[in-house]
C-alpha cells in the first residue's frame, strides 16, 4: 500500500468518528460492498472520504444518510464502481495471486510459530518444519474459503440481516475452522522436511512478495 493510500485510510478513520451510529452502520455496508469491487484501494478510500464529507455535512443540516445518499445504496455503489476504469483480466489475476500469497504467509507464520512452540515445549525434536499432505490440503481449503467467504460478505452487504442466516453463517464458519485445523492431524504423510529457520525465511520472502505486489496494486 502506498503512502497516499495509508494517509487517506488514517484520515478517514479519524473523520468517521464524527458520524453517528445509524449513519455509520450504513456507511460500513457501503464500504464493504466497495471492498468487493474492482476499485483500487486508493479509489475506495477516496470515495469513502467523499462519502464521509457528504454524511457529516448532511448531519449538520439534520439530514440522515438516506436523504444524503439516496435510498438504493446498491445501485448508487454500482454507479460509483462503474464511473472508475474497470480492472483488466491480467490485473484481476495479479490481485488474486497477491491475495493468495497474503493468505500463504499468514498460514506460514502460524505453522512456523506453532511448530516452534511444540518442538520447544513438548517434543524436544530437532527444529524442523514438516510439510505434510494435511497442511497442504488445509492451506488450499483456507485460501478457497477466505476468497469465497470475503466475496460473499461483500456482495451481501445490503442484504437484510436475518437471524437464521446469521446462525447458518456462524455454524458454517466454525465447521470450516474445525476441518481446516484438524486436517494436518489426520493426513500426517510428510512430503518435505526443511529446517525451521529455512521455513521462516520462505515465509518472510512470501511476505515481501505480497507487500511488493500490494504496492503495485495501490
Amino acid at each position: 500500500m502506498n503512502k497516499k493510500t495509508k494517509y487517506l485510510i488514517k484520515e478517514n478513520k479519524t473523520r468517521e468518528k464524527e458520524i453517528n451510529k445509524e449513519n455509520e452502520d450504513i456507511l460500513t455496508n457501503i464500504i464493504l460492498y466497495l471492498r468487493g469491487s474492482d476499485l483500487s484501494r486508493y479509489n475506495q478510500e477516496m470515495v469513502r472520504a467523499d462519502l464521509i464529507d457528504m454524511i457529516i455535512e448532511g448531519q449538520k443540516r439534520g439530514d440522515d444518510i438516506q436523504k444524503v445518499i439516496g435510498e438504493n445504496y446498491k445501485e448508487i455503489c454500482d454507479e460509483i464502481i462503474n464511473s472508475f476504469p474497470q480492472k483488466t483480466y491480467s490485473e484481476k489475476i495479479f490481485q488474486l495471486i497477491s491475495e493468495i500469497v497474503l493468505i500463504m504467509w499468514v498460514i506460514g507464520i502460524i505453522s512456523v510459530v506453532s511448530d516452534f512452540i511444540i518442538i520447544s515445549l513438548i517434543t524436544r525434536e530437532p527444529y524442523e518444519f514438516n510439510l505434510t499432505v494435511g497442511k497442504i490440503i488445509s492451506g488450499i481449503l483456507t485460501i478457497l474459503f477466505a476468497e469465497v467467504y470475503i466475496h460473499f460478505l461483500c456482495k451481501q452487504a445490503f442484504a437484510p440481516k436475518k437471524i437464521s442466516k446469521s446462525i447458518l453463517e456462524f455454524l458454517f464458519i466454525w465447521i470450516m475452522v474445525f476441518i481446516i485445523s484438524f486436517l494436518p492431524f489426520i493426513f500426517k504423510n510428510v512430503i518435505l522436511t526443511i529446517p525451521l529457520y529455512i521455513a521462516a525465511i520462505i515465509v518472510f520472502i512470501l511476505f515481501a512478495i505480497e507487500r511488493i505486489m500490494d504496492k503495485f496494486l495501490s
Binding site: R15, V47, D50, L51, I52, D53, M54, I56, E57, G58, K60, K67, V68, I69, G70, I76, E79, I80, N82, S83, F84, P85
Partner: protein
C-alpha cells in the same frame, strides 16, 4: 414527475449546465436541480456522475473550507466541458424539437 429512467443520460448535461453558472459543490447542485423542477435528486445520485465528468476531464475540482462543516469539493467547468455542454444543448434542442413534432402529430398535425 420526471422519472429516474427519463433523467438517465440527461442528468450529466444538466449538471454541466449548473456548474457552468458558477463554481459549486455536490449538495448545492442537487438543491439547484430541485429548484429547477427536477424533483428530489440526492447528492449520492449526483456523486457518481461528478466522478465520471471529472474522469473525462469535463469538470475540475478544488477543496475549500466550508463555514461550519468539513471541507467541500467545489467543481468548475473545463474548456472540454464547455464544448461538451454546447454539444449537449444542441442535442437537447434537436430532441425537444423531435418530441414536440411527435406530440403535435398526435393532435392531428403533419410531419414536416
Amino acid at each position: 414527475m420526471i422519472t429516474s429512467q427519463m433523467l438517465k443520460g440527461m442528468l450529466e448535461g444538466c449538471i454541466l449546465q449548473v456548474i457552468s453558472m458558477e463554481e459549486t459543490y455536490g449538495y448545492e447542485i442537487s438543491r439547484k436541480l430541485n429548484l429547477y423542477g427536477f424533483g428530489e435528486i440526492s447528492e449520492g445520485t449526483i456523486y457518481p456522475l461528478l466522478l465520471r465528468l471529472q474522469k473525462n476531464g469535463l469538470i475540475s475540482s478544488v477543496m475549500k473550507a466550508s463555514e461550519n462543516g468539513p471541507n467541500r469539493k467545489y467543481f468548475n467547468l473545463t474548456a472540454k466541458g464547455e464544448i461538451e455542454l454546447n454539444s449537449f444543448k444542441d442535442n437537447c434542442k434537436e430532441l425537444f424539437y423531435a418530441i414536440n413534432q411527435l406530440f403535435e402529430n398526435d393532435k392531428g398535425g403533419q410531419i414536416l
